[in-house]
Symmetry: C2
Subunit: 337 residues, 2 copies
């Protein structure tokens, strides 16, 4: 069996196990449909810190600590960290994980970073480079609004196409020790640019990249959408979902029966006023950890495709009139018995 599958996928001979995961979210996420599933729901979105950025760092630290504890390991057992966030120069990650004193690979894939971290972490364990690694990502509504749009104090109005950045962090410990779920393959995404220029419509910006990587996954592995119990994108929201399903129909794949989106799952959009859905590096991470991974571990799902989606922009590129290209990374997660 060859590990390189097709043009952009890998199938692991010694597929790494997901030993544990942990998640922590803010108040609003705790009030949503998944409220009861989360490990920790904060009462105050500052999480006892002075700034939104420090609050986001605290989320990463807590998620990492919980995940390592659940795996019955100590921080020093983790050989590498694969981590990132949305803020400029990855500061939530740097300041959040500094005290762990674990060798760190800092990543940036916008909201696709959870997929990127799980992919590289899986490659690392499957390659024999580590017995245990951790993949940690986060986002915070307030730090993201300040970074990408307007500080909350401006009280600006938001179009319905806008998504709501999830306050939360998810951490995953991967390793060689047996567990109930494993990463059997990955498909690594390319940057796809469909000419979207609206930073308030991220779903439309990311859907083409999601379609591209899902089609590549199905083609590389010779699978149909029905070979997955679920195909779960990160944060396309309702508008992005429609575009994704349409784009894949044009490529000859009908995923409408198996598609779910973490951004749609995490909020009750009508009741919570979250526009097109949730978004952010934390959105897919906490939803995988709190809901979808459990269903695989319990054997309710045998094989899922997890596809975090990212929109590649900064205020600088946006203000200079550049498009918002997308990227997405697909991770195949299977039940292990």
């Amino acid at each position: 069996m060859d590990v390189q599958v097709g043009k952009q996928s890998l199938q692991f001979e010694r597929a790494p196990y997901i030993l544990s995961s942990a998640n922590i979210v803010g108040k609003k996420e705790g009030e949503g449909p998944l409220g009861k599933c989360f490990d920790v729901v904060g009462e105050d979105d500052k999480f006892g810190q002075n700034t939104w950025e420090e609050a986001e760092s605290t989320l990463q630290k807590e998620a990492f600590t919980m995940a390592v504890g659940k795996a019955k390991l100590k921080p020093e057992d983790i050989r590498y960290l694969f981590s990132g966030d949305l803020l400029g120069q990855n500061i939530a990650t740097s300041f959040g994980l500094m005290d762990t004193q674990v060798p760190l690979f800092g990543l940036y894939g916008a909201c696709s970073t959870c997929g990127e971290a799980l992919s590289l972490g899986a490659m690392c364990v499957a390659g024999g480079y580590a017995d245990y690694v951790a993949a940690v990502t986060s986002s915070h509504f307030a730090s993201a609004e300040k970074q990408f749009r307007f500080p909350l104090e401006y009280a600006n109005q938001r179009p319905l196409s806008a998504t709501w950045t999830v306050t939360g962090s998810g951490a995953f410990v991967l390793g060689t020790r047996r567990s109930k779920a494993r990463i059997t393959g990955i498909t690594t995404g390319k940057i796809v640019d469909y000419g979207i220029k609206d930073s308030m419509n991220m779903g439309a910006a990311m859907a083409p990249a999601a379609a591209d990587v899902i089609a590549a996954n199905l083609s590389d592995f010779g699978r149909t959408p029905q070979d997955y119990d679920k195909i779960i994108t990160g944060d396309l929201g309702t508008i992005g979902q429609e575009i994704l399903i349409d784009l894949l129909k044009h490529k000859g794949y009908d995923i409408s029966g198996v598609h779910l989106d973490c951004g749609i799952e995490i909020y009750d959009a009508d009741a919570q006023g979250t526009g097109a859905g949730g978004s952010g590096c934390g959105c897919s991470a906490v939803t995988l950890s709190a809901k979808f991974l459990k269903q695989v571990e319990e054997g309710k799902d045998h094989r899922i495709l997890f596809v975090p989606t990212g929109a590649l922009l900064s205020t600088v590129s946006f203000n200079e009139g550049k498009n918002v290209p997308g990227i997405a990374h697909a991770v195949v997660i299977e039940h292990a018995s």
Copy 2:
């Protein structure tokens, strides 16, 4: 032979080869001591683009294209890109490498990113995940000043401890095909915080992280500094160099006879007014490509330790009064015959 060496190092059983490298720099770098060594020196630091950010993206695209060409490959032969830059949300990378249509792992390690990219690229090839990958990093004086300090139009004065961000990009193609140099091992860095708060003294912020990873490398591999022909840090500059040598003496290692720093090599500080030396993701990448890698390929050096160094800050963390922690990643490069 075990691939995991000590606490934070890897020794590759099938050490990947560096098939080619390419570099492109700005006018000031072309006027420095390494001027004649670079592949391309730009006449105009905008490189025909409208903005500094687009100019930096152009550097990455050019470096990648040249490196792939020198390896007698086509872009579609490259299975993965490991790339990053200093700008918020990695925009120089996203917009520079989008057209290559190569699956991308976006990285952020501040100025250590070249070491991070070479490390992950080497792990990827040695793990059998790809026949060819590319590692690309860049920085640009004008886009970095705008991002981290002041727009050039302010004409602010700079303290002598400040470093000068290199305008340049270096690209490396790694693969399984034989060449004259290979990456035989890596040591992945942790974040080290010595409480530095001065964003105009990056050398002091990064030196402790460099000392930490160099000591880990020597300890993990059971080597002395003299087992390397050269130990080459990324961009500590003159102030950081002094601190590094002192810190390592306290740890029992005297590297003064073999230490060099890309930031010191690239400019004539007195004649060019570059303060403590060069810096940026591009600094270590272009200096390795233009000078030090050639010396390994020619067999003048048999084994070097390449240690790009990064300062982890953003304007947000800096303005919120946070420290400037550092990180550094070490790559062992050996002559292959």
